[in-house]
């Protein structure tokens, strides 16, 4: 500014005052920055910086919340994991008990004791499967509010059905990227991939040609309703006092010379072993015919016995058997289960366990084991062992499933932890960036403060000097 020719007295005062104000406000600003530690306290301090701070704040909050959510996800997975550790141990105990029960020296009472132990394990398993973290059911898929596994009675048998869904709760682990934090219960305990149907029993029935569909177990009960011995009447052979249990058309062969009798492909038996008024011959499937040979004419016999019978599926009504049907369909309206049966080989009454392999949930497998051990239907020991063998296969599938699930949970958990760590790092980095923008550079601020202070002091000193000079001092 050009110095005007005349300098009015007030100019020095004005200049002094504005100098004091300016340096005072600079000092105040420096002091403010030092006490708050912030370079930008309001947007107008540095609008571009403020916009960056807002953006960084948002990203920081995002990183923090993602990290928190991920850690909670890890918690959830870890809780599920520890429940499954328990399940794994339970399966091991269970398997040991089943193997024990397969010992032929045990009697029915011993097996019932084992059955009652297994009942407890089954209840424990149900508790594991319905485990909760806070109010949330861990194994219900995304249906977390109600217990996912519920015990019901179907066809007079205890069954467990899955009420959850097969979805998994997903968490955002990055923009547009999600990772699951749950494992749906039906994938762990449920009826997973169906892999066909097996029949366990000794009636001679086989599966038909059409595919089958169903879950859990069903029981097929074959009964003999009538036995037609008319082809033997000519030889003087009539019905014996016992029950006949064979089914279908069976050839009876009596070799008079050798003194032997044989039904179907059953064992050849010496007639001398029998009281001729009550001869019971057995075919290859254990189906029997009770005969009265007391009026036998002594000639060789090679004639057919025709036994009619009925079959009942899953506690349903018994229907007559058509022994020529190779693809007989049976359905259970209660469950919608469908099996197709080849009846041509049926040769003895008895029951067949229909097992929908891979489609039996863990609880039903265990319940089946209990049913086998209690043996209310009075099956013979070999049949029981056959069935237990089948159940063990299913149980092993479930054990494998749990082990596999534990692995899945572990890898999901570590994936989440890794993401959480990444967000923690991001948080640090973002904080650094924000600090660069928003926080005051302490050295600079201190120097600034020092400078403002010095400037203020100089102004004051200069002012004091200036105010002392006046012509009056020299006028007398």
């Amino acid at each position: 500014m050009a110095i005007p020719a005349r300098i009015p007295t007030s100019a020095s005062y004005t200049r002094l005052l504005s100098g004091l104000n300016l340096n005072g406000s600079r000092l105040l600003r420096a002091q403010n920055q030092l006490t708050t530690g912030l370079r930008i306290a309001k947007p107008s301090d540095d609008p571009a910086g403020a916009a960056r701070v807002l953006g960084l704040n948002q990203r920081l909050a995002e990183a923090a919340r993602r990290q928190e959510a991920l850690l909670r996800g890890v918690d959830t997975l870890d809780s599920a994991g520890s429940e499954l550790q328990g399940v794994s141990g339970l399966y091991t105990d269970l398997r040991e008990l089943v193997v024990q029960s397969l010992n032929g020296t045990l009697n029915d009472g011993d097996r019932e004791v084992i059955a009652s132990e297994i009942k407890l394990l089954r209840e424990q398993l149900l508790e594991f499967a319905n485990a909760q973290l806070a109010d949330r059911h861990l194994f219900g898929g995304t249906e977390s509010r109600s217990a996912p596994f519920e015990e019901v009675t179907i066809d007079g048998k205890k069954r467990v059905i899955y009420k959850g869904d097969s979805d998994e709760l997903e968490l955002e682990i990055g923009s547009g990227l999600t990772a699951p934090i749950t494992l749906a219960g039906d994938a762990i305990f449920g009826a997973f991939e169906p892999s066909g149907v097996t029949l366990t029993g000794n009636t001679g029935v086989a599966l038909g040609s059409t595919a089958n569909e169903g879950t859990s177990y069903d029981e097929l009960v074959f009964r003999t309703t009538s036995t037609n011995l008319s082809a033997l009447t000519a030889s003087g052979i009539g019905a014996g006092p016992g029950d006949s249990t064979l089914l279908g058309t069976q050839q009876l062969v009596i070799d008079a010379g050798a003194g032997t009798i044989q039904l179907g492909s059953g064992p050849v038996t010496n007639l001398s072993d029998f009281d001729l008024s009550e001869v019971t011959v057995e075919n290859e499937a254990g189906g029997t015919a009770s005969l009265d040979l007391s009026a036998w004419d002594g000639a060789d016999v090679d004639a057919a016995i025709v036994a009619e019978g009925s079959v009942a599926f899953a506690g349903g009504a018994a229907v007559p058997i058509d022994f020529t049907d190779t693809d007989f369909r049976m359905t259970d309206p209660a469950t919608g289960n469908i099996v197709h049966l080849d009846m041509t080989g049926v040769s003895a009454e008895g029951s067949e366990l229909v097992s929908y392999s891979g489609a039996v949930n863990a609880f039903d497998v265990i319940e089946g084991i209990i049913e086998d051990l209690e043996n209310d239907d009075g099956l013979n020991v070999n049949d029981v062992f056959d069935r237990l063998g089948d159940r063990l296969n299913e149980l092993d599938r479930h054990m494998g499933r749990v082990t596999q699930s534990l692995g899945v949970i572990g890898s999901r958990s570590s994936r989440l932890s890794t993401s959480a760590d990444r967000f923690a790092e991001a948080e640090l980095r973002l904080e650094g960036l924000r600090s660069d923008v928003q926080d005051v550079d302490l050295t600079a601020a201190v120097i600034d403060l020092q400078r403002s202070q010095t400037a203020l002091q100089m102004t004051q000193a200069a002012g004091a000097q200036l105010l002392n000079t006046s012509l009056l001092d020299y006028l007398r």
């Binding site: 009015p8 100019a11 309001k42 540095d46 403020a50 948002q58 806070a134 249906e143 040609s209 089958n212």
Partner: protein
């Protein structure tokens, strides 16, 4: 010589005296604001001729002058106008910054962060009661922040009115005083005086006036100021025109001069800043904030409206935005949706409504097509009422209410229809036959379609089509044909039904099981309907009443329709090489599913885009044209009609002031609807909500909410910082001008002291001269 010497001496004495008095006055006023240094104008007295000599007769004090530079004064005035305007705007801006409270952790951005934090926390455990309550509270405090800032901005707008009133009153006071001074100056000055004091006073008042309104001045012959504002006379001589404040038709504040027909344009000074801030700054920010709130409400409600709460769908739901009878016809129904006064725009699209049976859990999906340019409120309501189990009412205030029949619930989610083959035209047990053509069909009046029930028997059913039953018989839709067939008494008496499967006509028996059969026996319409190749082909029922179950959730974009058809004839899980082919809407093959021998019925197969299908035991037939279609949608309300009506929204309201969390949710956080699948713990809606933060918002031309808010805040910051800068430089100019004015007009005490000494000596000299002249006279008298 004589008396002349005395008179010269006396004049010198007086001149010194006046000058000394003026110095005294200058010293006395050295700190008086607006005071201009005065000087006595001295001039030689007229010389007189004495014996041929022109002789001076001393000094005259002509007048007392102010030292004033009019140019600088004028520039000062205009600079004070600029300064006043900047100062006012800066003060307003600072206040706005305080209102937003950003960077102090209390602003909208912090509330937004809290909102998304609780969204994220809830997404980990969607059914947790405490987290749900926390979410509702954070959603609510976000709304409160918007409300508070909006109302503060409105208050600031109001306070600018009271500021303007005060400023106008000040202007009127100042102009009155200036007019008074004009009068006094005009009275005094013609007498040859300079009314210095009055002029200084007037200049001070002018300065004050210029800070409020920018003015131009012209001085007339009488020394009176004429003051103009943008060319309009404000003060003319003794008259000051009154300034008034009014609101114009747009509700904006305007200044108006007494008697003027138009508003006064004010471009400088504090008043202009206040008037313009009323029009731009606060209102502008308020509308930006409203836009932001509206966009957020839109996005959040879009996510929420199609969700389902853990307690299931709705039995009753009321809209929060009323439909308006905008044409004043007394009826709301005749309004097209676009003009029904809804706060959000609708787009052409569709709305999916799922009806859920409470006992069986069976879901039936319906779709309503909406074209806001065409669809009227009544059309929409008719479509709603056409959904079995759903009814709608519009109350007298225009609010739409949806109600489900007892035992039914409804929702708007985009879940996949689990049982899309409801008619059983794919794997059902009914005997079923599908046409080979895709509608619409070209039919002629009176054409027939004939059937034989059972197959192989005599033709016993013949249905004739009448143009009366069709909108356009030459382009008959499958839906119309099916309706016409079903309406025929003979057709239904024979145990047949007709259905429309995505444009194809399917005819099937009502009963299912192997004894059921029928065939198309012919008829003139058989060619047009695509049955000509099927004449005489027996359709047989099946005891395997199986079908298909879909699961998963659709991850594709937009809407899609998938059609499933078998590759041949056979039984699921049994027939070798049996496949199900899946086509998209364009006819492209998107999936081939092996369901023949080796497939275990009930096993899930991946279809496409997250959809899974499992097939149960069923007999499929390609010859009978078995098929079903399923609609998949990523957005079950692509029309945004739910958001527009405020049905199942997270927020009610449509701007910053009215934004609030829906009462229903505040009372019961369990009603929060973030499940899309219907499962209580589904968090798909929450994940979608998290997306809202970074996703470009439709209403903000693709800018995200956070970014737009950041722009708004930094925009405000830039404005305030810019004003600070301008204010600084304007200050510098003002100070410089002031210094220049002072260098001309202000008093320098030292200078005055010098003058004092000078005039004191002049006075002493004049006194000495007088005494000498006096002695000369005495001496002369003594000589006489």
């Amino acid at each position: 010589m004589g008396s002349m010497g005395i008179s010269t001496g006396l004049k010198a004495l007086l001149a010194a005296q006046y000058s000394l008095d003026t110095v005294g006055n200058n010293l006395a006023n050295s700190n008086t604001p607006g005071y201009s240094r005065q000087r006595v104008d001295l001039a030689q007295s007229l010389s007189i001729s004495r014996r041929g000599l022109l002789m001076g007769t001393g000094v005259d004090a002509l007048q007392i002058n102010r030292a004033v530079d009019e140019v600088i004064e004028r520039r000062l005035l205009s600079q004070r106008g600029i300064q006043g305007r900047l100062l006012q705007r800066w003060e307003n801006g600072r206040e706005l910054e305080l209102v937003f409270g950003e960077l102090e952790g209390v602003g909208i951005s912090a509330a937004l962060d809290d909102f998304f934090s609780s969204t994220s926390a809830l997404s980990v455990d969607p059914t947790d009661a405490i987290l749900r309550t926390g979410f509702v509270q954070d959603a609510s405090s976000l709304a409160s922040r918007f409300n508070e800032i909006s109302s503060s901005l409105t208050d600031l707008g109001g306070s600018s009115e009271s500021q303007a009133k005060a400023l106008v009153a000040q202007v009127n006071g100042l102009t009155g005083q200036i007019a008074d001074l004009n009068v006094q100056i005009a009275k005094l000055e013609p007498a040859g005086n300079q009314a210095n004091g009055l002029r200084d006073q007037r200049q001070v008042l002018m300065g004050e006036l210029a800070e409020i309104v920018e003015v131009q001045t012209v001085e007339d012959d009488l020394g009176q100021y004429r003051v103009y504002v943008e060319g309009n006379l404000l003060v003319g001589g003794d008259r000051a025109l009154k300034l008034d404040l009014e609101r114009n038709s747009d509700g904006q504040l305007e200044a108006r001069l007494e008697g003027a027909s138009k508003a006064l344009k004010v471009s400088g000074g504090r008043l202009s800043a206040v008037l313009n801030s009323d029009a731009s700054s606060t209102d502008g920010l308020n509308s930006e904030l409203d836009e932001l709130a509206k966009a957020f409400i839109f996005e959040a409600n879009q996510v929420h409206s199609t969700g389902i709460s853990p307690s299931g769908g709705f039995s009753l739901l009321r809209a929060s935005n009323p439909l308006v009878d905008s044409d004043g016809s007394g009826l709301v129904g005749d309004e097209r949706l676009i003009e029904a006064g809804l706060p959000f725009d609708l787009t052409e699209g569709s709305l999916r409504i799922n009806m859920v049976d409470e006992t069986t859990g069976a879901v039936v999906s319906h779709e309503i097509k909406i074209d806001p340019e065409q669809t009227t409120v009544e059309d929409f309501q008719t479509a709603l009422d056409g959904i079995p189990g759903l009814s709608s009412t519009i109350d007298e205030d225009g609010y739409l209410t949806l109600q489900a029949d007892a035992g039914q619930r409804f929702d708007f989610s985009n879940r996949i229809d689990a049982n899309p083959d409801k008619a059983g035209t794919f794997g059902g047990g009914q005997a079923s036959l599908g046409g080979e053509l895709d509608g619409p069909f070209a039919l002629l009046d009176g054409q027939t379609l004939d059937f034989a029930v059972p197959a192989g028997g005599a033709t016993n059913v013949s249905v004739a089509f009448s143009s009366a039953d069709f909108e356009n018989l030459s382009a008959a839709t499958a839906e119309e044909v099916a309706a016409a067939l079903n309406a025929d008494a003979g057709f239904s008496a024979a145990g047949l039904t007709a259905v429309d499967v995505d444009g194809h006509l399917h005819v099937q028996t009502a009963g299912s099981g192997s004894p059921q059969s029928f065939e198309v026996a012919g008829g003139s319409a058989s060619t047009g309907l695509g049955f000509s190749g099927l004449i005489g082909q027996a359709a047989q029922g099946s005891d395997l009443n199986g079908g298909v179950e879909l699961s998963g959730s659709y991850t594709g974009d937009g809407d899609a329709q998938f059609t499933f058809v078998p590759s041949g004839d056979g039984t699921v899980g049994t027939t070798p090489d049996l496949q199900v082919l899946v086509y998209d809407e364009q006819g492209g093959l998107v999936a081939t599913l092996d369901v023949g021998e080796g497939y275990q019925p009930g096993t899930k197969l991946d279809v496409v885009d997250g959809i899974e299908a499992s097939f149960s035991l069923a007999e499929l037939s390609a010859t009978d044209n078995d098929r079903f279609t399923v609609d998949a949608t990523s957005d079950s309300d692509s029309s945004d009609v739910l958001v527009a009506l405020g049905l199942n929204g997270l927020y009610t309201g449509s701007d910053a002031a009215s934004m609030a969390v829906d009462e229903r949710l505040l009372e019961d956080p369990d009603q929060l609807a973030f499940s899309y699948s219907g499962a209580s713990g589904d968090n798909a809606g929450l994940l979608a909500m998290l997306d809202v933060q970074d996703r470009g918002a439709d209403l903000l031309e693709g800018v995200s909410i956070g970014d737009r808010y950041g722009e708004m805040i930094s925009g405000l910051g830039f404005e305030v910082a810019g004003l600070e800068g301008s204010l600084d430089s304007s200050n510098t100019v003002l100070t410089a001008l002031q210094a220049r004015r002072d260098s001309v007009s202000a008093v320098n005490v030292d200078e005055e002291l010098v003058d004092m000494v000078r005039f004191q000596q002049a006075y002493a000299a004049a006194s000495q001269y007088l005494s000498i002249v006096s002695r000369l006279e005495d001496d002369l008298l003594r000589i006489l």
